[in-house]
Symmetry: C2
Subunit: 340 residues, 2 copies
DNA sequence: CTGAAAGCGCTTACAG
DNA sequence: CTGAAAGCGCTTACAG
C-alpha cells in the first residue's frame, strides 16, 4: 500500500558503500572522502531517504519527547500553559505529546502509562482529583514529572507548579478595602469535602483561605454567609463588593448582579464592586471592564518545563513547589467606593 | 543516573524462560502453561517490567501516532479543533503529538519534517501562508495528511477541511435583511493581496465573497466603502448593520460603536446591528448579547481525524474538500429593525 | 578513510 | 508447549 521508505541499507547498496559510511555522512561525522560522501549524498537524494528518527532514538536510549496531560487542552488556561511548555520544549529540542483526561481519573492513568510506555523523557500533568500512586514507579524509573495547577495525591510524588491563589485573594481583598469596601463577599465553589474535587474547587479553597486571612488581617468581620455566597445570594447578601473565585463564578456574579440592578457600572445606584480570579477574553469589553487578579498560565507551563532538565540530569532531590505570583488588573468594576 | 528499566531479556533471565515466552505472556498469546505464565508474571511484577512500546512499534513498522500542527494551539478555535481530533485519535488508539508554528513558515516545515522523521502515521495541519511543497514527498511516502481551516499551497496537496465561510456570510446578511436592514457593511481584513496572508485574512476574503453575493442576490447596492470598512469608519459609514469577519473585528466594531453612542443595545437611538463571524467566550454577556455565525472547530478536528484512516488504509484517490456548515446564533445584537 | 559485527528492545517466522 | 535465530532501522565499539 504505502511506498516503502528507503533505509540506510538501501542508500548503502545504491552507493556501493557500507551502512556505517552512510551513517557517517548522514551524521556529518568526519573521516569520509568528499568523493564517497558525494556518492552517498546522491543516493540519498535519488532515493528520497530520510532517517527514521525513532529508530535512531531507540538505539540511543532516549526519546527527546515530552508529554503534556491536561484536564482539557481546550481550556484557555491550560492551552496557555501548554504554550509555555511548548516554548521550552522547542528550545531544548523536545517533541511534545499531549492529551486530555476530561478530569477522568482512569483516563489520566491510561494516558500517562501509555505515554510512559513510549518512554517519554518527561511528563507535565494537570492532575485529576484521583490517586497518582500509579506514577511512582515511572518516576522512580526516571520519568521527569511535574504537576501543574495543583498538587498530586499523595503530595510529594513530584515537583509542583501552581499559582499563588492565597496571595491573589489577599491582593484582591486589599484592593477592595483600599477603595473603601468593608462588607466583602466571596463567591466560590460550594464548600465542604467534595467527592468531585475539580481543579476549580481546589483553587476555590485556596482562594477562600486567602480571603479569610485578608479580612482578618484588616480587622474586618467575615460574615459566614459572605464566605459561602452562591450566584443567587450575591445580590441580597448586603455586601458592597464580591470576589469571585474563577471565570465561571465571575460570569455568574455579573449576570446575577445585572439582573438585580446592582451591576458594577455607574448606571446602577446600588452597584456592587466585582473582582474576579483569572483573566478571560473580553474581560475589558464587559462593561464597565472587569477587574481581575490574573495568573499567568503560560508562565506556569514554562516553569514546569524548566524544572524538567534537572530531573532528567539525574537530580533526585526532594520535590520542589513553585507558587507563581499573580497580578491585579484594574479595569473599572472594582475601582469605586461603596454607595453609602 | 536513572534506574535502568528492566527489559524482556531481564524478565526471561529471572524466570528462567526464553525471550519469546515472555513475549507470549506479555501479549496474552495462547500456548503457555499456566505454571510458566505465573512464573513470568511474577518476574514481571518483581522487576516492575513495562514493555517499551516504541521498540515494539519499530519492529511492527507503525507508530500509532498522529500529529497536530497548529498556528497557535492556544487559539481557542484551534484548541477546540485539537479536541475534536484528540477524540478521534483516542477512539482509534493513536497518541497525539502537537505543536505550534506561530504562523512562521520555516517553523512549520521544521516541525512537520521532525514529526515525519518520527514516522507519525498522520498529520493534521493548520497551514501557514507559505509553500507546502516540502510535504509532497512525505505524503507520497504514506503520511496521511489533512489541512484544516484553510487549504495548502499548492492546493491539491492533500485533503482539506474548512468552515463554509461564504455560506456563513450569506446567512448573516440574509438574517439582517430579514430584520429590515438594507444598508449593511462588512468589517474584515484590509483587502488586497497580502504578503502576510494570515488565517484571518483568508477567512475574511471568503466572507467578503459571501457578503457580496448575498447583497447582490437581494438586489441591494453594496457601496464600495461598505465592503472596506475599518473599525474607525464603522460609526460614520451610514450603515444600519455591520457583519464582522472575525472575533477581533467584532470586538473592534463593538468598541467603536459603543464609543460613538451607536452600540447595539436599546439605550442607543441610532444603534447599529452587529453580527460576528465566530463565536467567543462571553458573547452572551456583552450587552445586548452578540449574535454570531458560529462554525464548529471541534467538528473540523473530528472530520479531519476521520479522513485519516482511509488514507492510512492506502486510499490514494484525489484530495477531498470538506466545507462544514455554520450556524447562526441570535442573541440580540442583530434582531431589531433599522432606526428609520 | 572504510567496514563487519553486535546491539537498542521488541516481534516475526520457523523449528522442535 | 517452548525456544533459537533473524530482523525492524539505526548507532556503538572495534578492526583494518
Amino acid at each position: 500500500m504505502s511506498t516503502q521508505r528507503p533505509t540506510m541499507k538501501d542508500v548503502a547498496a545504491r552507493s556501493g558503500v557500507a551502512l556505517k559510511t552512510v551513517s557517517r555522512v548522514v551524521n556529518g561525522e568526519p573521516g569520509v572522502t568528499q568523493a564517497t560522501a558525494d556518492r552517498v549524498l546522491a543516493a540519498i537524494a535519488e532515493l528520497g531517504f530520510r532517517r527514521n528518527e525513532s529508530a535512531r532514538l531507540l538505539r540511543t536510549g532516549q526519546t527527546a519527547t515530552l508529554a503534556f496531560i491536561a484536564g482539557q487542552v481546550a481550556d484557555p488556561d491550560q492551552a496557555a500553559l501548554y504554550r509555555g511548555l511548548e516554548e521550552v520544549a522547542r528550545e531544548q529540542g523536545f517533541l511534545l505529546y499531549s492529551g486530555s483526561t476530561d478530569d477522568d481519573e482512569d483516563r489520566e492513568e491510561r494516558l500517562a502509562l501509555a505515554l510512559c510506555a513510549r518512554r517519554v523523557d518527561g511528563l507535565v500533568i494537570v492532575p485529576t482529583a484521583g490517586d497518582h500512586g500509579y506514577l511512582a514507579a515511572e518516576i522512580q524509573a526516571g520519568v521527569a514529572t511535574v504537576f501543574a495547577l495543583r498538587p498530586p495525591e499523595p503530595a510529594g510524588l513530584g515537583d509542583v507548579v501552581v499559582a499563588d491563589e492565597p496571595g491573589g485573594a489577599k491582593q484582591a481583598v486589599a484592593h477592595l478595602i483600599a477603595h473603601g469596601h468593608r462588607r466583602i463577599g466571596y463567591l466560590g465553589q460550594p464548600g465542604g469535602p467534595d467527592p468531585q474535587d475539580t481543579l476549580a474547587a481546589y483553587r476555590s479553597r485556596r482562594l477562600a483561605l486567602g480571603y479569610a486571612e485578608a479580612m482578618a488581617a484588616a480587622g474586618l468581620p467575615a460574615d459566614e454567609r459572605w464566605l459561602s455566597l452562591t450566584p443567587g445570594t450575591v445580590p441580597g447578601a448586603g455586601v458592597t463588593a464580591v470576589f469571585c473565585g474563577g471565570k465561571a463564578h465571575t460570569a455568574q456574579a455579573l449576570h446575577a448582579l445585572a439582573a438585580a440592578g446592582q451591576g458594577a457600572d455607574a448606571a446602577h445606584p446600588g452597584r456592587v464592586a466585582v473582582i474576579g480570579f483569572g483573566d478571560f477574553e473580553l474581560a475589558g469589553l464587559v462593561p464597565p471592564g472587569i477587574t481581575v487578579v490574573s495568573y499567568d498560565p503560560a508562565r506556569i507551563g514554562r516553569t514546569a518545563g524548566e524544572l524538567l532538565p534537572r530531573r532528567l540530569a539525574g537530580d533526585r532531590g526532594p520535590p520542589r513547589l513553585a507558587e507563581l505570583p499573580v497580578t491585579l488588573i484594574p479595569r473599572g468594576s472594582a475601582e469605586f467606593p461603596p454607595p453609602d
